[in-house]
Symmetry: C2
C-alpha cells in the first residue's frame, strides 16, 4: 500500500481572520408581513389585543431595561423578523424579564387575560417559529443569561436559557469541557432556544442528542407555574421524564428558563480532513469504513455537494477575497471528517491508516488535512458558511430532512429536476428570467440528515408552489422525516402529516391542550 498521506496537500490559509458572521441582509422594509403573505391564516379572535392596562401591568413588574415598546413601525424589526427574512410579525411590545419569577408573573397574567405570547431566544430559528405571526407579545429570554454552576468532576453545567451557545462553550473549554452541541448560529443562538427546538448540529454523531444530554430543566408553564426540575444527576429514574416533552416543543407548552446538562471532557486532540469523491455512493463507502476504523474518535462526518461549494466560493470570495478553497479542483462531492480524542499520536495513526486505505483504493480522489487550529477553523468555514452563501443570492428555501442514507442525495436531484421542469431554473443563456439559482445539498451523513437549500433570487409564491408540498411528498415517499433538526414552526405545521400519523398528531394536539388549554403559547405554529 502506498502511503498517500505524504501527498496530501497542506491547507494554506492566507488570512485566517474569520469572515464576519453577519452578511448583507435585505432591507427589512422589503419583507412582506406574514399575515399578508399567508392570508388564509387568520388571527385568533379569542386573543386579547393589548390595552394600556396591560402595558401598565407589565410596567409595574418590569424595569425600563426589560420592556421595549415600539414608537415606530420599524423599531422592533429585529424581533419581528426571522433569520431567513421570510416571516415578519407585527408585535409592538418586547419584554425581556431578568428573572424566572417575573416570567412566571407575566405568563400567569397573559394566560388569564388570553394574551398570546411568543417566546424568543436568539431568533436564529429557520422555520418561522420564534417570531410573531400577528401581534403576539414577544417574550425574549436574552436578559436571563447567566451560568449558574459548573462541576468539573462530573461535567454538569447549569445555566439560564438566554446564555449564548458560543459563550457557554468558551466557558466550558476554559474548564476542560465542551458543550455537546455545535452549530453555525452559535454566536447568536441561546441554549434555551437550542433545547426548545431540539437543535442537532455537527457534534450529534459523537455526543448524541439533547434528549440524552439534558439532565434537568426549569420551565414556566402557560399558567405561570414554575416547574423546577433542574436536577443534576446523570441518572434519575423517578417518574415520567417530563422534561423530555419540552425538548423540541418550540415554546408551545412552556417557556424553558434554565438548563442542567451533561458536558463531555474536551478532547486533547482534534483532526479535520476535507476529502473529495466522485460519486455519492462513495460517501457511503467512506462512512462505513470511518465508523469502523475511527469509531470512538469520530466527532463529525459532513458532506457537501459541488453546487453548495460553488455558491460558497462565490460568497466567500465576495466577502473576503483571501479565503482559498482547500482543494485545487472541483469534485461532485466533498466530505469533512473531524476526529477528537485523548491521544494525538493514536488519533493521527488511526486517521493516517484510514486515509491510506480510502485514497489507496481510489474511493477518495483528493483531500487535505488541517495542521493546526486555524486550519481546522478554515476547513470548517467551508461547511459552516453554506447557509449564508445560499441566502446571499437573494433568498433561500430551506428544507432540513432526515432520509435513509442510500436515498439521501436523490432528494436534491429530484428537486433540481422539478424546478427545471417548472421552468424556474436560472440559466444565463436559456432561461435568464429563471428565479431559482439551484438546489444544493449538504449535511450530517452520520445522522442521515440532509440540508436541501434552494437558492433563489427572491421569495415568491410561484417558487413556493413549485417546491411545496412537492419536497415534503418526496421525503414522505422516501420514508424520511420532513424535519431532522430545524423543527416545525410556522413553515411546516401544515405538512406535519407527511411525517406523523393521524394517531401521533392527535396525541400531540392532546398534549398541547393538556398543558396550554387556552393556546396562548406560540400560536399558529407546530401542531
Amino acid at each position: 500500500m502506498i502511503n498517500l498521506i505524504s501527498q496530501v496537500k497542506l491547507c494554506v490559509i492566507k488570512n485566517p481572520i474569520l469572515v464576519s458572521k453577519s452578511f448583507q441582509r435585505l432591507c427589512y422594509s422589503t419583507i412582506k408581513l406574514t399575515s399578508d403573505n399567508y392570508p388564509q391564516v387568520k388571527r385568533n379572535t379569542q386573543f386579547k389585543k393589548l390595552t394600556s392596562d396591560d402595558l401598565e401591568y407589565f410596567q409595574s413588574i418590569l424595569s425600563p431595561q426589560e420592556l421595549i415598546v415600539a414608537k415606530d413601525r420599524d423599531d422592533l424589526n429585529f424581533y419581528n423578523t426571522d433569520w431567513t427574512h421570510k416571516y415578519k410579525g407585527q408585535s409592538n411590545i418586547v419584554i425581556k424579564p431578568k428573572s424566572v419569577e417575573k416570567i412566571s408573573l407575566i405568563m400567569n397574567y397573559c394566560n388569564k387575560e388570553r394574551i398570546a405570547v411568543v417566546p424568543q431566544g436568539g431568533n436564529t430559528d429557520l422555520v418561522g417559529g420564534s417570531v410573531p405571526i400577528f401581534d403576539e407579545l414577544i417574550l425574549s429570554l436574552s436578559n436571563l443569561n447567566k451560568i449558574r454552576s459548573f462541576d468539573e468532576l462530573t461535567g454538569i453545567l447549569k445555566c439560564d436559557a438566554g446564555a449564548i451557545l458560543e459563550e457557554v462553550d468558551n466557558y466550558l473549554k476554559d474548564n476542560g469541557h465542551l458543550f455537546p452541541l455545535d452549530l453555525g448560529a452559535k454566536g447568536s443562538c441561546q441554549i434555551g432556544g437550542c433545547v426548545a427546538t431540539n437543535a442537532g448540529g455537527q457534534r450529534l454523531i459523537r455526543y448524541g442528542s439533547l434528549h440524552g444530554n439534558v439532565l434537568g430543566l426549569e420551565v414556566v408553564l402557560p399558567d405561570g407555574t414554575i416547574m423546577d426540575s433542574m436536577h443534576s444527576l446523570r441518572k434519575d429514574n423517578t417518574g415520567y421524564d417530563l422534561k423530555q416533552l419540552f425538548i423540541g416543543s418550540e415554546g408551545t407548552i412552556g417557556i424553558i428558563t434554565g438548563i442542567s446538562i451533561l458536558t463531555p471532557t474536551n478532547p486533547k486532540a482534534t483532526n479535520v480532513s476535507f476529502l473529495a469523491v466522485n460519486d455519492f455512493k462513495d460517501i457511503e463507502t467512506v462512512f462505513k469504513k470511518a465508523k469502523s476504523d475511527l469509531n470512538e474518535i469520530m466527532s463529525a462526518f459532513e458532506f457537501m455537494d459541488m453546487k453548495s461549494m460553488k455558491l460558497t466560493k462565490k460568497h466567500l470570495g465576495e466577502v473576503d477575497g483571501t479565503m482559498s478553497f482547500p482543494l485545487e479542483n472541483d469534485y461532485p462531492f466533498y466530505i469533512l471528517i473531524e476526529t477528537s480524542g485523548s491521544n494525538k499520536d493514536h488519533d493521527d495513526a488511526k486517521l493516517e491508516k484510514f486515509l491510506e486505505d480510502v485514497m489507496g483504493d481510489g474511493t477518495v480522489v483528493d483531500g487535505t488535512m488541517a495542521q493546526d487550529v486555524s486550519e481546522i477553523e478554515h476547513l470548517w468555514k467551508w461547511r459552516e458558511m453554506i447557509p449564508e452563501s445560499c441566502q446571499s443570492e437573494g433568498a433561500v428555501y430551506k428544507y432540513d430532512v432526515s432520509l435513509p442514507l442510500s436515498q439521501l442525495y436523490s432528494l436534491v436531484e429530484l428537486t433540481n429536476a422539478k424546478v427545471k421542469k417548472d421552468g424556474l431554473l436560472y440559466d444565463a443563456e436559456t432561461n435568464p428570467e429563471g428565479q431559482v439559482i439551484g438546489a444544493v445539498g449538504y449535511g450530517h451523513i452520520g445522522d442521515g440528515n440532509l440540508h436541501l437549500n434552494v437558492a433563489t433570487k427572491e421569495y415568491n409564491k410561484t417558487i413556493e408552489k413549485c417546491l411545496e408540498p412537492y419536497v415534503y411528498e418526496a421525503v414522505s415517499d422516501l420514508k424520511g422525516s420532513i424535519s431532522a433538526e430545524h423543527g416545525i414552526g410556522f413553515q411546516k405545521k401544515k405538512y406535519l402529516h407527511y411525517s406523523k400519523s393521524p394517531v401521533e398528531i392527535k396525541l400531540m394536539k392532546d398534549i398541547k391542550n393538556h398543558f396550554d388549554p387556552h393556546g396562548v403559547l406560540n400560536p399558529y405554529k407546530y401542531v
Copy 2:
C-alpha cells in the same frame, strides 16, 4: 516512573465455566402476599373482578398458548412473584398475546370493562413493579419476541418488546454491533421491560441512556389505540417527542410492544482491569484521571466495597468452589474499569500509561488485568454476582440511588450505623440474634449511581422500619435521587416526594390521568 504493569498479576481462572444464573430461591410458599404485608393498600373497588364472560372473551381472541388460567393457587407463582421474593400478587390469569393487534383488543376491552392490567416483561424488576398487587390481569410480552429488522450501515435495530436482551445482544454481535445497554439480568430481561423501566446498566457511561438511543416505539395505549412511532431516523424533529414519556413509565400509561433503537458498532478491542484502593476518595482520583486519559475508550467504571466482595466470595465459593478472587488480599474498595475501542494497540497503550500513573503514585495499591475473553468474563462476574450474593443470605433490601460523587459512599456508612444503633446488626459474639448481615455498596461511579444492598436473613417489618424512610431521607438530605435506574414500582411510590417536588408530582399525576383516565394500567404503583 517504574512500569508497574509488569508486576500486575495474571488473573487465573481455574474453571471458566460461568456460575449458574439461578440461585437457590426461597420456597414460593413462604412468601407473604403483598396484600397481607401491606394491609394499608386497599384493592380499588372500581376494578372489576374477572368473570366467566371475560374469560370467554379472552378465549375468543387468544389461542391456548396465549392464555394460562390457574388451576391451582401455585400455578402462577412465577408470574405473581417478583425477583426479590418480596412481593406476591394473586392473579389467576396470565395472557401472552402473540400480536400487537391482540394486545390492542385486550386493552380496549379491559379499559371498557375496568379490568386492571399489569404488563410484564422478564419479571426481573426490583421494586415490585411487574407483578400484581391484588388480582390484576397479567399481560406478559414474552410471546412477542422477534427481531423485526436490522440495518448494518446505520446500526438501527427494530424488535418486539418481548425479545430477551442477551439474545438481541448476541444477534447484534454477530452483525458487528452491540446493544447500548448491559445489565446482570440480561439472560431473562426483555427489551420492552428495559425501555419501560429506563434501565441503566454498565454501558451507560459510554453509550448514554435509552432516552438518547431509542429512536421509536410502538405502544398500545390504555384504550387499545396503537401508537405506531417505530421511526428509524436518527434525527426526527417533528413535534413533541411522545415516545420519551413511555421510556421509564413502568407500564402505567401504555404497553410498549416494539422498539426501534440505535446500536453502536461493536468495539474491536476490550480490556478489563480490576484494581484495589484503600480509601473511597482514591476512587474519585482514579475516576478523574480515567475520564481524562481513557476518555473515549472508557466503557465502564464500577466500584465495589470490601463487604460486597466478601459476600460474593462466600456465595461463589458455595456455588462453585473453583472461582478464585482476582486479588490475593482484601482491600476496602475495588474498581473495575472496562475500555472498548477500535484499535487494541492504542487501547493497551492508553491503559498501560494510565495504570503506570495510578499505581506509580500509590493511589491504586493492587490490580489485575484480564488477558482474554474468559478472563474478562471472570472479572465481570465478581461485579455482576453481587446482587445474587446479597440475596443468598436470605433476603435483601435493595436501594438504587443517585448521589453526588463525593457523598456516594457515606450512605452505606450511615445505613450500617443506623442498623447497628437499632440493634439489628448480626454479630456472632455480641448479637447472634441480629437479622441484618450488613449494608454493602457498589455501583456505577461514572453515573453517580450507588447500589446500597442490605443483606438480611429474612424480610420483616422491624428491618423495614429501621431502613425506611431513613434511607430515603438520607438520600434527600444528600441531594440525591431515590431511584437511579430501578424505578419506582410499588416499593418507592410513597417515597416519591423525597426526589420530586409537589409541582413535579402533580404534573406526573396529570399525565397519568391524561393517558389512563380509568387507571387500569399497573395500578397501586408509581404515582
